[in-house]
Structure formats: C-alpha cells, structure tokens
C-alpha cells in the first residue's frame, strides 16, 4: 500500500473519530446520555421503513443542490446561488404544473413540469454566469443577490397573486404532473415524503458526473475550472463557458423543485426548501465534489435531519446540526491534508 493511501485512510478515520467525540461531548453537555440519543436517532431512521423513507426523502433535494454546487466549483465558480436556483425551480413547478391541462397524461405532463424546474434554475444560474462573462461581475456577489431577489419575489407571489383564497399555498398542480409517492407501492410508508423524485434525482446527479467526465463539453467545463487562460488558448471562451456552467448548475438545483411540488406537496408555499441550497454547499464539500461522495453525503445529512426530529424530545434538534458543522470542518481539513500529501512527490520541478 502506498504512502498516500495510508495517509488518506488515517486522515479519514481520524476525522470521523474527532467528529464523533465532539458530538458526544456536546450531547453530554446538553444534559443527555449520548447512548440514549444515538439509540433514538437509530429508531427514528433506520429502525423503521418510515424512518428510512424520510431519510431518503430529506436526501433527495440535498443531492441535487450538492451536485449543483459541485458542478460549478469544478468549472471554477463558487455558486452560492443554489438556494435561489432551487427556489426558482419550485416556483416554476408550481406555476407550470397548475396551468397544465388536467386531461394530459403523465407522460406529457410530468416531463414538461420537470423541464420547467430545470429551465427556471438554469435561467437564474445562467444570468449570474452571463454577468460574470460579460461584465466580470463576481459570481459570489451576483448569485447571493439573486437569492435575495428570488426570496422576496416568491414570498410576495405565494402570499398574493398565486395564493389560493382561504389557503396559504398555490393552486394544486395537474394530476398528470404529480410524481407517484413511495406509499403507493409500500403501504408501510404512508405519510412519507419519499417519491419517485429520488430516482430522478440520483439519475440527474449521475448523468451530470457522466457529462463532466465523458463528454467534450464536460472536459471544457473542467478545463476552464482548471486554467481559464489555457482554456482560452484552446478556443474555449471562459466567459461563455461560465454562463453554460452556471446554467447547468442552476438546472440541477432547480430540479429540486420536483421533489417538493411534483412530489410530496402538489403545490408551493412560502418557506419550502429554504436552507436546502446552503446545506447543499456542505453536501458538496463533504462529498468531495464527486457524484458518489455527494450521494453519500446527502444521505448522511438526510439522516441527521430526520434523526434531529427524533431526538428533539431530549436534546435540541440542533445538536445534530453540530454533526454537519463538525463534519464539514473535518472533511475540509482532511481534503487539505490529502492534497498536501499528493502534492509532495515530484511537485513542480523535481
């Protein structure tokens, strides 16, 4: 086994041990026994079919927002607008879904509604990319501002023009656009938020990874992420590529709308999906910006979210968000250790 592998194994093991120790200490300080808390987490998640389904349901939008951040990062862009791109996807699903004729069968209605999520997210992301490519506006600023704009806009729309009188949400979407819920196949999952959206989400994440690694477009995206000047000398205009990259990232984030609107809810309302974009950044980092890692990290964060509800009775649910924070710190450190370990041999001019 090579030097690098040994170091990587140690670094990851150490990081996880530290995270566990830190979280246990926090639980103990909050006045509970770690053993009891972990037992509750287990019972609330893996012990029952319903708990597992909820874990997967919580992971569904997270894997998309995580991949949306990762795709942009591999293209050299820090996409902190995932939150807004997801919100745009939710809005589009609600608006388009509600206007589809009720007579349309699912094989027309669902693709149109899903496409609307992606297009809306892509437009929001692409706008930030275009502003960078055309005017040099930094994407961190523009995507953050777009987040704010969309948050205000959707709050107004959901509270006013789009609201169904007497309700606090938008019109129910056409039945053809609804994605089947898991409870349809497994009656034990009654009430769970898990739907077919998870299959589509995993598919989207894997397709995005495949695009990055196996197509010329993906190679160009990564080329600009690696060295924009060198990419330019090869005829890839970094400005235009930035637009494409953020549009792709936005489309992936926007697909999160299908989980909420086309899946569990059937409508949009204020506050749906809020914070999921930002947690996605953590998912991408913990998943080391690769599809496999992101899927696992999304499951971990889904587990923590669901487990947090289970332990709420004895310790604050926030205790488990400590795990999120601690694991981000640990993974960031491990990634640093790893890149240094890899950079050492023959780095530069040997």
């Amino acid at each position: 086994m090579s030097d690098y592998r040994v170091r990587r194994a140690w670094a990851i093991a150490t990081a996880f041990a530290l995270v566990l120790a830190f979280v246990n200490l926090s639980i103990w300080l909050a006045g509970a026994a770690p053993r009891v808390v972990w037992r509750l987490v287990y019972e609330g998640t893996f012990a029952s079919g319903y708990g597992m389904a909820q874990t997967f349901a919580k992971a569904t939008p997270l894997m998309l927002t995580g991949m949306a951040f990762a795709v942009a990062l591999r293209g050299g862009l820090v996409n902190v607008g995932v939150e807004g791109q997801l919100a745009a996807g939710i809005l589009a699903a609600a608006v388009v879904g509600a206007r589809l004729p009720h007579t349309w069968p699912w094989y027309f209605a669902a693709p149109v509604a899903i496409g609307a999520c992606a297009v809306a997210g892509a437009m929001v992301g692409g706008t930030a990319g275009w502003l960078k490519g055309r005017f040099g506006a930094h994407e961190v600023i523009t995507t953050l501002m777009l987040n704010g704009l969309i948050a205000v806009g959707t709050t107004w729309l959901y509270g006013g023009p789009l609201r169904v009188p007497g309700q606090i949400h938008t019109r129910i979407i056409a039945p053809g656009a609804r994605l089947p819920m898991a409870e349809r196949w497994l009656s034990g999952l009654r009430g769970s938020a898990l739907s077919l959206a998870i299959v589509l989400a995993v598919g989207a994440v894997c397709t995005a990874e495949w695009y990055l690694l196996r197509t010329s477009g993906g190679l160009r995206l990564r080329a600009v992420g690696s060295r924009p000047e060198a990419a330019r000398a090869l005829g890839v205009e970094p400005g235009r590529q930035h637009t494409r990259t953020l549009a792709l990232a936005g489309a992936i984030a926007g697909l999160g709308g299908m989980h909420y609107v086309l899946g569990v809810k059937g409508y949009a309302e204020d506050g749906i999906g809020s914070g999921v974009g930002f947690v996605g950044i953590a998912v991408a980092m913990v998943g080391l910006t690769r599809a496999g890692g992101i899927l696992l990290a999304a499951l971990l964060f889904g587990l923590l979210g669901q487990g947090g509800l289970a332990v709420n009775a004895i310790v604050p649910a926030d205790t488990l968000s400590l795990v999120q924070a601690a694991s981000i710190l640990a993974v960031a450190t491990v990634a640093g250790v790893l890149s240094r370990a890899r950079g050492a041999p023959g780095g530069g001019h040997a």
């Binding site: 990419a231 023959g346 001019h349």
Partner: protein, 502 residues
C-alpha cells in the same frame, strides 16, 4: 557589519529520500564552503530540487544528515535550516506583488519602533535594503512595488530577502531559467560577489556554459545519484554533458533537408495591436523565423495576435491567402494555427487534468460540445504521443501538475503537433527544460519544419534561435528593429539591435 570571511561549510552527507517507494535521492553528499560557488547540475528529475528542499528544511530526509560547521540539525524543520544560516531562492518567486521592495524584504523580520514595538520602522527597513543592495552590488529601488518590476529585479528582491534574514549559505534553484542573457550575466556577477564576501553559494542550473563560467566546483546528479564531483578547472563541457546525460551528448543537428517553399503561409500587414506597431511579417512554408529581443518588447503580443488571443486594432493577418484578423481562437486553430505559449503551466496546460485529457482538448475529433470521450480512445491517443515524445512518467492518466517542466512542455508540444498544422507559434520551448528533453523538443520542431509547417520561434536563448531558424528578427518596442539570416545572427550583431542605440 562585515567581518573577515569565515571558513566553514554546509555539509550534506549520505542523503537518501524516496516518495511512494520511488527513490529520488540515493546516498548523495555535497559540501558548500563559505566563499565558494558550488554548482549542482542534472536533468529534470535528477533530484536537484529535492536536495534543495531537504537542505532548507521543507522536506525531511529518510537517511543522511545536514550540518553547518559540524553542527548537525534535524531535516524537515524549516526553522532549523534558516537558524543555521541557510536561505533559498526558489524558482517560483514568493513575493507579495502589491507591496514595496523593502516591505517584501523585511516581511517576517520587520524592524520595529514605537510603544511596545507596535509599528514597523519603515525608514529603517528602507535603509537596510539600501545597505544590503550596495554591499552586494545589486541595484533595486526599495520603494518600487513588486508588480512593476521585471523578472530579474524580482529575483534580486528574493535574494535580498534571504540575505536580510542572515543567510550565510544561499541556495539558488535554477535562477537563470527565467532570465534574459543580460540578466544572467549580472546574476553570475552577483554570485561571485556574494562568494567574495564569504557567502557559500549553491547554484542549480541546466546550462553548462554558465556553470563553467561561475562555479568553483561542480556536482552532477543523475537519477538521484552523484555521478561526478570535480573542481571546475578539472572538467569541461563535454565531460559534464556526458555525466549529466549518462551517455554521449546528442549529436549536432543535421542540416535541413527541405527547402523553404514559395507559398506564403502567414502574413502580417501593418498590424497594430496591444504592444505592436505597424507590424509586417511573412512566414513561408517550411520556414522557421526566430524572434529575439529583450523581454517585454512585443514578443508575447505578437504570438497572441497570431493565435487570436489579442485582437488586431488595425491591419490584416492573412493565413493561406484568407484574411483571418477577425477569426476566433477556435476558427484559427481549425485553420491550422498552433500555439505553444511561454507560460506553459498557466497559459498552455490544464494542470489539474491528466495528460490524456489535455491532449483530448486539442484534438479536433473531440471538438464538438456533446461528443463522447471514449476513455479507451483518448488513452490510446495519449499513449502514442507519450511514446513519440518520450514523456515520463508514461502514464496517460498522470496529472500534468506532477510532471517536470520538460515533460509538461513535451505534452504541450505533442498536443499542438498532433494536428495538421499550417503555422506554429512557439514561445520559449526549452526554458527550464533539461538537455536531453531540449534536444527532443528541437527534433520535434525540425520534423514539423520538414513537413512544411511555417514556424515562428520566440526565444531568449540565442543559441536555440541560431540552431533552429532560417532567419532571426529582433523586436524592440513592438517593431522589428532588424532582420538577420541565421548564419549572421551572432551576439555582436544581435546585441545592439536588442538594446537599441549604437
């Protein structure tokens, strides 16, 4: 401050180091005496940089020891090395660009004043820099900002920084690789001056002429082992070259076998652009035109105008009879213009991607946006290029960042030469590249010429221009100051054209 030169030495004994089971240094010993210049010569990958990293404490040795005046200190601890008076000027400068020269020199060891020593004593810093630069005969303005300085001046700042920290042994990692001939002469003078004041100098270089001109003694490394150690008087260029390469040095280049064609491949007509004024140039099929000049006189702009990275403000660029002045980079590449930029690590290659992916990016077969990249296909194409150009390691999936300068350059050249080219623009193809890789790169360029490619070769290495070119043009202030047949392009004629006047 200055006292009589002390004797004593920095001694490296029996150093061995391996990474991932690959031995990069094996039982290497070397002594740098105060007041002497010791040259360290070897190909890329011979272990020179690793030796320097160990000597200055960046990397720990597996076995062996480093001592100053008989006091052994642990390797791998940078603080120990600098406390023992060892200072390094790395190949890549580590300067804070928006700060002044004197701020950079004293950074980390600032003179202080005021209550609780809270404030940096700027005037003391300035006068320290002035004193140091006078003492060692290196002129730098202490108030100039780093970003306004040229490469040679930046290097002097690095050297001053090391001396300000009290270095008695200065290790210079390939310092001449980035310098123009004039700056090299001045640096060699500085090294002698440092030695005269009792500093021990370790000078790493590929260029045997420089080494023979400045060093007192020479050590040659090959594949991590010391293969030669000799006083400079007891050796010569041939013996050194044999030791470096491990075989007889490459034979002198064969004379060209093909004639220059009549058809005009590329023509610049009164081109004005950033850095160029009313520029006229003609390249014929099979012709290699060299571009000499002091750096920053439009060489880079000329290359970028042809490649399409800088736009023409007026005038026309004609390729094979077609006006291509308004064409995009991609259109020009498709029309057969190849470009090897001088900053291969940032402007040429994608350091985070593999060799195979870098080659695939230049391959017209994968030009479309949604073309699928078959891993088998891009691997096979990369393997062919790796074998043809002798890239080491011969692994298509090796990340370009981990390659040595010479091997990275081979990948870049392979990417451009794999296509059907009409015109090739190459800048500094062998800068920082070792002897055998340079020879291989020259061979590749000659082969391209014999296939009828019209080439523009920008180089600060005048020997390289004479060896490869049919004629040499000299750039000054964005214009052609003179044009010479290669056979007439000696230093006496080129020199005045480069600097102007006389």
């Amino acid at each position: 401050m200055s006292t009589a030169p002390r004797s004593g030495s920095l001694e490296i004994r029996g150093l061995t180091k391996s990474y991932d089971g690959r031995t990069v240094l094996e039982d290497v010993s070397l002594t740098i005496e105060r007041g002497r210049v010791h040259a360290l010569v070897g190909e890329n990958g011979a272990g020179k940089s690793t030796l320097i990293k160990i000597a200055c404490g960046l990397v720990g040795a597996d076995t062996g020891e480093v001592s100053v005046d008989g006091r052994v200190f642990p390797t791998g601890v940078a603080r120990e090395a600098s406390a023992h008076g060892i200072g390094v000027v790395h190949q890549h400068f580590m300067l804070v660009e928006p700060m002044s020269v004197s701020d950079n020199v004293v950074l980390g060891h600032e003179p202080r004043r005021g209550p609780f020593q809270w404030f940096v004593d700027r005037s003391e810093a300035r006068s320290r820099v002035r004193r140091l630069s006078e003492k060692h005969g290196m002129h730098v303005d202490p108030d100039a900002r780093i970003e306004t300085l040229g490469v040679g001046e930046r290097q002097r700042v690095e050297l001053l920084k090391v001396l300000h920290r009290g270095a008695e042994f200065v290790l210079l990692d390939e310092p001449t690789a980035v310098l123009s001939p004039r700056e090299i002469q001045s640096l060699l003078g500085t090294m002698r001056a440092l030695a005269a004041t009792g500093t021990g100098v370790l000078f790493v270089s590929h260029k045997l002429a420089e080494v023979l001109a400045v060093a007192d003694e020479i050590t040659v490394l090959r594949r991590g082992r010391r293969v030669l150690h000799s006083a400079v008087a007891d050796t010569n260029a041939d013996a050194l070259a044999r030791a470096v390469v491990g075989a007889d040095p490459p034979a002198p280049a064969p004379a060209r076998s093909t004639a220059i064609g009549d058809d005009c491949r590329l023509e610049l007509r009164r081109v004005c652009a950033r850095g160029l004024r009313d520029f006229d140039l003609t390249l014929r099929a099979g012709e290699t035109v060299g571009v000499a000049g002091v750096e920053g006189n439009g060489q880079r702009d000329l290359a970028e105008v042809i490649a399409g990275l800088t736009s023409c403000e007026s005038g026309t660029l004609v390729l094979d009879g077609k006006d291509v002045s308004r064409w995009s980079v991609l259109q020009r590449r498709d029309a057969g213009i190849g470009f090897v930029p001088e900053d291969r690590e940032t402007g040429g290659l994608l350091a985070d991607l593999s060799i195979a992916e870098n080659l695939a990016l230049g391959d017209p077969a994968t030009a479309g946006r949604l073309r699928l990249l078959s891993p088998a296909r891009i691997r096979d194409r990369a393997s062919i290029a790796i074998e043809k150009f002798g890239v080491r390691p011969p692994d298509p999936w090796a990340i370009v960042r981990t390659l040595s300068g010479g091997n990275a350059q081979k990948v870049l050249l392979a990417r451009e030469l794999a296509r059907t080219l009409r015109v090739l623009v190459v800048a500094q193809p062998t800068r920082g590249v070792d002897i055998s890789a340079s020879a291989e790169i020259h061979t590749a360029l000659r082969e391209a010429r014999d296939r009828g490619v019209a080439a523009l070769l920008i180089s600060s290495d005048l020997d390289e221009l004479r060896a490869l070119c049919d004629r040499v043009i000299v750039l000054r202030s964005g214009q052609i100051a003179g044009s010479l047949a290669a056979s007439d392009a000696d230093d006496e004629r080129l020199g005045p054209l480069m600097v102007g006047g006389a």
